[in-house]
């Protein structure tokens, strides 16, 4: 699939270089805008405007939306006012708002100059909503119907107005003062038995809507829960202001999952794709957590220092430190990641905390016993019998395995509790994933280790 596309891409670029513009235009015209945009990714800077001018008007605008911001900016800087107006006219309002948000101020000024007054005011309206809110991802172009229309009139209105709307399949019924009254789908309208039926006798009135302030992650969940094509966005007085469509919800779902994964791995989330990020970008997103975690490992170091005497009396104890720390870290990150994902899918709430802790304790006991049993045998067979390490006797083995099982329980309880507390306190639970948990569990597991070593071995 991907390889086949690369061949097509190379052929197209070769055609551009050989100036076979007519054939090139014919092929491009049959392609999907996302694929055309992907071809632009691999063009030289001076080829981009050349190829863009070959595209038919509508495809040009659709491709433009799918392009990376740097290519968009390059194109706009090269456009005449007329060319810019042609592209802007074809954009949906939400795409135009995204574009305005990405571009530098002088480019934005030109875009807004070329937009017609209605679009300009819609763009401004969308831009006023906070980042990541439903208002910021909605579009104001939807089909609205009046409750007193008949089915026939509604279909006629859709046929007249539909061409500029992002979706025509869900239509919203609003009153004169723009209050949201109900919805009808095109399916309902087409399958209606009688063209004279009034919309108000027919529409779905028990509506699920979001407000302009609803977080986009919650909006995306509602799509995956209810399987909607579009979701109406209302203001504080239930006045209809726009719709969010399923494709934008899909993008949000994908972005939010990526963001969670990045945060869980101890990075600040990035908007750029990996290949477009410079080493300096990557450095900036990665260094804060690395620095913080490195400095906090000082505590672990201090714990070890304070038990230096014990370690020098029985140096074999040192060899088990990495195994204890790693197993603790792995156990903790399993629990924290499971809880973080469940929180972000809305399957868990803070009220479930005790239930979760109890479940994790039971799981931890099972894991702890199994791990300790295998570890006990492994130490006996490998370290003692195979490697003839005389200083490892049954008591040492016991201290290590006891530490292991206690560490597993601590790790799982810490791992499940911290993300839920973070959520309760209004932080992003994803922060409480493996790097952070590992650092805490490391310190705790060492304390437990040395406590058992001292007690059991009398060091």
């Amino acid at each position: 699939m991907a390889e086949r596309f690369e061949i097509v891409e190379k052929t197209l670029i070769a055609m551009l270089e050989e100036k076979k513009y007519v054939t090139l235009r014919d092929i491009l015209s049959t392609m999907n805008p996302s694929d055309v945009a992907a071809v632009f990714e691999d063009l030289e800077e001076d080829q981009i405007p050349l190829m863009f001018r070959l595209l038919p008007k509508e495809l040009a605008a659709e491709t433009f939306v799918e392009m990376e911001p740097d290519a968009q900016e390059l194109l706009i800087r090269g456009f005449s006012d007329n060319e810019l107006k042609e592209v802007v006219d074809e954009l949906y309002v939400d795409d135009a708002a995204d574009l305005v948000e990405e571009m530098p101020a002088n480019v934005v000024r030109r875009i807004l100059q070329q937009a017609d007054p209605e679009m300009r005011s819609s763009i401004n309206q969308i831009l006023r909503y906070p980042d990541n809110s439903a208002g910021s991802i909605m579009t104001t172009e939807y089909v609205s119907l009046r409750p007193t229309m008949t089915v026939g009139e509604a279909i006629l209105r859709i046929r007249r107005q539909g061409v500029d709307k992002e979706t025509i399949y869900t239509c919203y019924v609003i009153s004169k003062d723009r209050k949201l009254l109900g919805l009808v789908t095109v399916k309902d309208l087409l399958l209606a038995e009688d063209d004279e039926t009034k919309i108000e006798d027919f529409m779905l009135t028990n509506l699920i809507s979001v407000t302009t302030q609803t977080d986009q992650e919650e909006v995306a969940h509602m799509f995956s829960k209810y399987n909607f094509l579009a979701l109406p966005v209302v203001d504080g007085e239930n006045r209809m202001v726009g719709i969010v469509t399923f494709d934008d919800a899909m993008d949000v779902m994908e972005d939010e999952a990526t963001e969670d994964i990045e945060i869980m791995a101890g990075m600040t989330p990035s908007e750029k794709t990996y290949l477009r990020s410079s080493p300096l970008d990557l450095f900036r997103h990665r260094i804060p957590w690395l620095m913080l975690l490195m400095v906090s490992a000082t505590f672990t170091g201090m714990i070890i220092s304070s038990f230096e005497d014990a370690l020098s009396m029985l140096p074999a104890l040192t060899a088990f430190i990495p195994m204890l720390m790693d197993t603790g870290g792995n156990c903790g990150s399993q629990s924290s990641v499971t809880v973080i994902r469940s929180l972000s899918l809305g399957e868990l709430e803070f009220g479930d905390l005790l239930k979760v802790i109890w479940k994790e304790i039971r799981t931890a006991v099972l894991c702890g016993v199994a791990l300790a049993a295998v570890c006990f045998l492994k130490i006996l067979l490998v370290d003692r019998l195979l490697m003839h390490n005389e200083s490892i006797n049954l008591l040492v083995d016991g201290a290590v395995c006891l530490t292991l099982s206690v560490t597993v329980v601590i790790a799982k309880v810490v791992g499940c509790t911290l993300p839920m507390l973070a959520k309760k306190l209004g932080f992003d639970p994803a922060v409480m994933a493996s790097p952070f948990i590992t650092t805490i569990v490391d310190a705790l597991s060492l304390l437990v280790y040395f406590m058992f070593a001292k007690t059991l071995l009398g060091l």
Copy 2:
């Protein structure tokens, strides 16, 4: 939002207990099937059939689809053959196939007995496709048109056939031998100027389709890339066999992200939600990796054992082991997780390997220098001056910081390379995430540490 819903839920359950069936039925009738299914989650076993029988027929079937498998099984076991037939008749084929896959054999036999012959054969067809393939998530209910139909005839056909189809908005044009020729959307049909236009002069012919064998993850990507409502599924001879709809693609996206996250945290992926998993379930999904990683930590232990003499000559060296191991692990997991996510979003391919390694090396040098500089000062100020640890001189400090920066580079190179190699070899790259990388990087960082310590400090 969630709290408001809890209040509604409690009221409904109270009504059921007080036998206010008529009011209860009226309220349930206005609710969304997903929300009704959520109410069933909190009912006692004996209340489930009672409340289910209150639902109007269509809502009952839609709610049934959204319910958890254990509630579904309970209901089916209580159904008369007639009741079962009523529910099965209302199901879409893909939902029926999902149901059949979840239920035990004797329940499946009853379901298939009640399905009409056409549905039975469709279910069997879907079940024959491999798990996680497009064939296994598609539905066979779509609107098909003939190329010679006019726009008017097509609309008429949709009005006649549409009621049983999962989506009517994208219609597929197929030849007499079921080859996929093109598609038209209801939007195109409604906005067409002339009802007499032939479909073949009008349809989109440059189609993007998948085969029954295409992996569901790739299907989901195509939805998020192209913003389709539905995607046609064809067999090896380009004969149309079904469609995948956007709502199923959304579920796949969410499930695949969860699966990646679980694997990255060292768990085998689970189909059950966290709250529905028993401690034994969790144990089974978590113990394999824990066991493997614990046993492989034996190597780290061996490395430490073999440098026992050096450590006992300069015990202060031990205190830095956790910091070096953790920082290495964190650096490695940042790189591996970034690469894994980019691979699974299709932004990276194996061909980019050298580009990726070169980018990671430059990032690692930046991170390594910054971390080493801060670490050098921290050791000087905290360990040496503040804590008066006399055994830590500039040479020791230098050995630690040199190890730190080399470890960072190794960790990032290992972290980005292993997932890409895994992908190339046909394994799931997500396996190569932090737990696995950490174990490898731990061993490497200790080797580097002891090498520098020996060389610089002459131990």
